[in-house]
């Protein structure tokens, strides 16, 4: 009554700011999701009922692609620095420490390592690379040496944790896997994890907490 001229406030809110936020978040999520599968080696992992999320820090990632080629990747630069010293000493190579540290993965025999490190990033595609030789029928299983080098590199810094991840392709043949497992065993790495896709637990099995029940059709 006293203030009849007061303009009626609209109930609609200005959505522009909210829209800005929404699309900012959206672009953030799009970008982060796109970045994840930036691996040079395409691998389709099998699925398992394991529900533990794979670690993504302090990892030693052994990748087996669909042709059975083996690649080795590390994320810790200090470890890689220690590794390059050991390799240079043991193999009589003069590898560039900076290039070695920068490399995301290694996939060649020791003798070809200098050439491998010199490759530009664009040509680091799994199909074109030789992979670490593991076939003991054709030569020495160099994975054993690699794991030995990693073992001694980790000994130099004992506070570091080590997570060995094995990421194999569905179609990789067993001998490559066997060679990798042998290399791990030889160097006393007795615990490792296999990267898989999550899968639901089949109903009616023991894991589903229904002991001794026959599987339903």
């Amino acid at each position: 009554m006293s203030r009849p001229k007061l303009p009626r406030k609209s109930t609609s809110i200005d959505m522009t700011a909210m829209c800005d936020v929404a699309f900012l978040l959206l672009s953030f999520f799009i970008l982060t999701t796109k970045f994840k599968p930036s691996e040079a080696i395409t691998v389709t992992t099998p699925s398992s009922v394991a529900s533990k999320v794979a670690p993504d820090k302090d990892i030693v990632l052994i990748t087996i692609d669909r042709n059975g080629k083996v690649f080795l990747g590390l994320d810790d630069e200090t470890i890689k620095g220690a590794m390059v010293e050991i390799i240079n000493k043991q193999k009589g190579l003069t590898l560039d420490a900076a290039a070695f540290k920068k490399a995301e993965f290694f996939g060649s025999s020791f003798s070809n390592l200098p050439q491998f490190l010199a490759l530009p990033k664009e040509s680091l595609k799994g199909d074109a690379l030789p992979g670490i030789p593991v076939d003991s029928t054709k030569g020495p299983n160099e994975m054993i040496e690699w794991m030995g080098i990693i073992h001694s590199a980790y000994e130099a810094s004992p506070t570091k944790k080590i997570n060995i991840l094995l990421k194999g392709d569905n179609d990789a043949k067993y001998p490559s896997f066997d060679a990798v497992v042998k290399a791990l065993k030889k160097n006393d790495f007795l615990k490792f994890q296999m990267v898989t896709n999550p899968e639901s637990i089949p109903v009616g099995t023991d894991l589903y907490r229904q002991p001794k029940e026959e599987v339903k059709k």
């Binding site: 522009t16 009922v49 999320v53 794979a54 569905n170 043949k173 999550p198 894991l207 059709k217």
Partner: protein, 184 residues
């Protein structure tokens, strides 16, 4: 819902004659756009968390004590699973020798049927004292990594406590190849 609040802002007010004509606002209602934005955000959040890889833990035995472990297993409680190429699975219970090879050596698959390897494991587990039950997995050189993971997964699905990944012997490998040949 459209914005009609035109009294303030724009400095050019119309004369009294045109007062009733509603001036269309240049503002757009952004509510649906915000809806869409958040819908997409939820989609992306969900897909990122869904595609997070899980890790399947595997602890290896030390090489040295493996043969002893093997010998300790009672014959009656052992089931050996052989993996061949093209997702073929074979199994036998106890020991395999020349006389009973064909009778004991059975083929199976990864399916859910009664002949599937899961049912085989479950049956064997039910009929064996838990302490004696051991599964020996022998992958042939032709089998794929997927099969190995599948069978290890089967171990955790059926809560098999004792299992071992063992190299295939020459005899068994041949048997697998022969049986695969027959199946075709």
């Amino acid at each position: 819902m459209a914005e009609m609040d035109t009294s303030s802002g724009g400095g050019h007010k119309k004369g009294p004659g045109v007062k009733k004509g509603k001036k269309l606002s240049t503002r757009v209602d952004l509510t649906p756009m915000v809806d869409l934005g958040f819908l997409l955000i939820t989609f992306f959040i969900f897909t990122t968390t869904m595609s997070q890889a899980t890790a399947f833990k595997l602890n290896l035995p030390k090489d040295a004590d493996k043969p002893e472990d093997q010998n300790k297993a009672k014959e009656s409680g052992v089931i050996t699973i052989l993996l061949g190429k093209d997702n073929h699975v074979f199994y036998y219970e106890g020991q395999l020798d020349n006389n009973n090879a064909s009778a004991k050596f059975k083929s199976s698959n990864f399916g859910n049927s009664d002949e599937g390897i899961r049912s085989v494991i479950i049956r064997k587990k039910a009929n064996t004292p838990p302490d004696d039950f051991v599964v020996v997995i022998k992958p042939d050189s032709e089998c794929k990594y997927k099969n190995v993971v599948d069978i290890l997964d089967e171990m955790s699905i059926n809560v098999v406590k004792k299992y071992a990944l063992v190299d295939i012997s020459e005899v068994e490998s041949q048997l697998v190849h022969v049986t695969e040949g027959q199946a075709k």
